[in-house]
Symmetry: C2
C-alpha cells in the first residue's frame, strides 16, 4: 500500500482544469490552501460525511462512491443558490478491505475518477485533503459563493406561497431497493439516481430572486418539509397526486411503495422550494432551459403542520444500513 | 440515543461567544453557513481527520478527544501564519461503544466541552457540522484568514537561513509511551502534550514577516523537515545537541529514546520555521512575549539532504495504532 503522501500526490493532485483554479493563491500541498474570495460575495460552506454501509453499500462501484460523496455535499450549496468553487476531502480508507495493493490502487483510481469528474462538471477545485486509515468514511467540505443578499434559505416561505420540487422524487429509495434485489447496472435510471445523484447547482442559481425558501431533499420530503415549516413558521398542504415520481418507481415498489419512497425515502437531492404563485411560470421556464422540471406539490398554509397526507402512515422508512437485508 | 438533529442542537449549537460570531451572516442550521470574508485577506483552509485507535486511544477522555481533533487542524493554520475564524466538524460516532444512552450523552457532553473550549480560546466559530454513525472518526475543516502576501509557506527557505522550532519536541511521543504504560493523569506534562496539544496560532502570527518558511511538526521533525527541504530546495544541517526536549522526556524514554522521539515522534504541533540569522533575536523576543521559546536547531545548506544526524538510525517510529502494545 502506498503511503499517505504518495496517495495524495498520485490520485488527488492531478492538474486541475484551468477554469477551476481561479481564486487559488496557493495549491493543496502546503499546510493549508490559500484562497481568494470574490468581492461582493458571501462564502457558503457545508460539510457532509458518507459512511460505508450507512450512506452507501460498501461494494458500490468506487467511482460512484467518489461521485456520491461529493454530490451530497454540493447539494447543500445548490439549496443555498450558491455556485461551487472549492472543496476539501477527508478520506478514511479501510485497507483491510483490499486483497492486495493492486486492488487498493484500482479502487482509489476509480474513486478519484468519480470525484474529479464531478469536480470538473461543477468547476470545483479540490484544495485540501487528508487520507487516513480506518473504517471507510468520506468527509467532504464544500465552499461556494453567492452574491450578498441572494442566498436561498429555509426561513423565507410565506403563507400562500406554492411548494415545488425539481425533477422527480423516490429515485434514491427506489434505487436502494433495486440494489438490495441484486441489480448492479448503473445505467438503470433508479440505480443511477441512488448512486450517482446530480446536485442541482444550476437550478439553485436559476431560482435566485424567485424562490422564497429552499432546501434539498436529503432526509425525505416530509422530514425536509418539516425543517422548512419550522424555519419559516408556516404549515403545508400537500397534494399527493401531484408528486413527481421517478421513472420506474411504480414498477419497482408498487403504488403505495412509490408514494412512501417519494415522501420519506430521501437521498433524492432535488431542491424543495417555495415561490409566490406569480413566479411559478418564470421559474419553470428557467428550469426547463436547464432540462429540468419544477412541479408544484402543495401550498404554504397558516395552519401549522401538514395536511393532505397522514404522516403517521409514513414513518420508519429505513435508510441504507449494514444490518438491513 | 438522540437523533442527529437533537444531538447537533444540544451539543453543537450552543450560543457562540460574540467575538467569534463576527463575519457570520447565517448560522449553522440551514443547508450551509453564510460567511463574510474580510477585504484584503486571503482565506486559509485545511482539513484533518482524527480516527479512533489510529490518531488517539479510543478510551482517551472525551474532552481531550474533542480538543485534540480541533487542535491538530488549527495547527495547520498556525503554520501558515493565519488567524482562525471558522470551523466545520464531521463527527462519526460509534454508538455500539456506549453501554447506554446516558453513557453516550455523557461522552458527547465532554467531547463538545473540549471542542468548544478550544474554539473559544482561538475565537473560532463552529459554523457547520454533520453527525453520523459508524466507527469513531472526526473530520475538522478549519478556515482562517491572513493578509494578502503575509502567509508563511514551506517553500521560502534560503541557504544560510537558520532552522528553529517553537517550544519543545518529543512530548507527543513521550505522552503516548506513558499512556501505554497506563498513565491516565492528564496533568502529567507529557500526557498533556500528547492529548491536549496547543496549536501555535499566536506564534504563527508573530512570525509573519520574519519566518521565511514554516510548517507544523505533526509527522515528526525529520519527516516535516523533508517537506520543507523539498519545497524550498535546500539541505539542512541539524545540531542534535540543540534539540529542545519536552520536560520529563529523558526520564520516560532515556537519552536515545528522547532524541528519537524528538526527531521522529511527531504529534508535537510546534512550529518549525526558517529565518534569516539577523531576525532570530527579534523573533525570539516576540515569542517570549507569548511565553514561548524559539530554539535554533540547525541551518539551511546548499548540499541537499540532512547532515548532523544519521536518518537511518531513526526510521520506523510507530505512531499510535490499535495493533500496537
Amino acid at each position: 500500500m502506498l503511503g499517505e503522501f504518495e496517495l495524495i500526490q498520485r490520485y488527488f493532485m492531478s492538474p486541475q482544469e484551468a477554469h477551476a483554479t481561479a481564486g487559488i493563491a496557493l495549491e493543496n500541498g502546503d499546510d493549508a490552501a490559500l484562497l481568494v474570495p470574490q468581492a461582493g460575495q458571501q462564502l457558503v460552506v457545508s460539510v457532509d460525511t458518507s459512511v460505508s454501509n450507512v450512506h452507501f453499500p460498501h461494494d458500490a462501484p468506487a467511482h460512484a462512491i467518489g461521485h456520491r460523496a461529493l454530490a451530497v455535499a454540493l447539494s447543500d450549496l445548490a439549496a443555498m443558490g450558491a455556485t461551487s468553487r472549492w472543496c476539501l476531502m477527508a478520506l478514511t480508507l479501510d485497507k483491510s478491505a483490499f486483497v492486495d495493493r493492486d486492488a487498493a490502487e484500482q479502487w482509489l483510481a476509480g474513486y478519484a475518477k468519480g470525484f474529479h469528474a464531478l469536480c470538473q462538471q461543477h468547476s470545483t477545485a479540490l484544495v485540501g485533503g487528508d487520507v487516513t486509515s480506518g473504517a471507510l468514511t468520506i468527509g467532504v467540505t464544500v465552499m461556494g459563493e453567492v452574491p450578498i443578499g441572494d442566498a436561498l434559505t429555509r426561513s423565507g416561505a410565506s403563507v400562500g406561497d406554492v411548494i415545488a420540487v425539481t425533477g422527480a422524487l423516490g429515485g434514491g429509495a427506489g434505487g436502494l431497493a433495486l440494489w438490495r434485489q441484486g441489480e448492479r447496472d448503473l445505467s438503470h435510471p433508479l440505480l443511477s439516481r441512488y448512486l450517482l445523484p446530480q446536485p442541482r447547482l444550476a437550478a439553485g442559481v436559476a431560482l435566485r430572486g424567485l424562490a422564497t425558501a429552499a432546501l434539498d431533499v436529503s432526509d425525505g420530503l416530509l422530514a425536509d418539509l418539516s425543517h422548512l415549516r419550522n424555519a419559516s413558521e408556516v404549515g403545508c398542504a400537500l397534494a399527493l397526486d401531484a408528486l413527481p415520481l421517478a421513472n420506474g418507481l411504480h414498477e419497482t415498489l408498487g403504488h403505495d411503495g412509490a408514494i412512501k419512497a417519494a415522501l420519506t425515502g430521501g437521498d433524492d437531492y432535488e431542491l424543495l422550494v417555495t415561490l409566490s404563485p406569480r413566479n411559478i411560470a418564470i421559474a419553470q421556464q428557467r428550469l426547463a432551459d436547464l432540462g429540468l422540471s419544477l412541479t408544484v406539490i402543495g401550498r404554504c398554509t397558516e395552519t401549522l403542520g401538514v395536511t393532505g397526507v397522514d404522516a403517521s402512515d409514513y414513518e420508519g422508512w429505513q435508510h441504507f444500513s449494514g444490518e438491513a437485508p
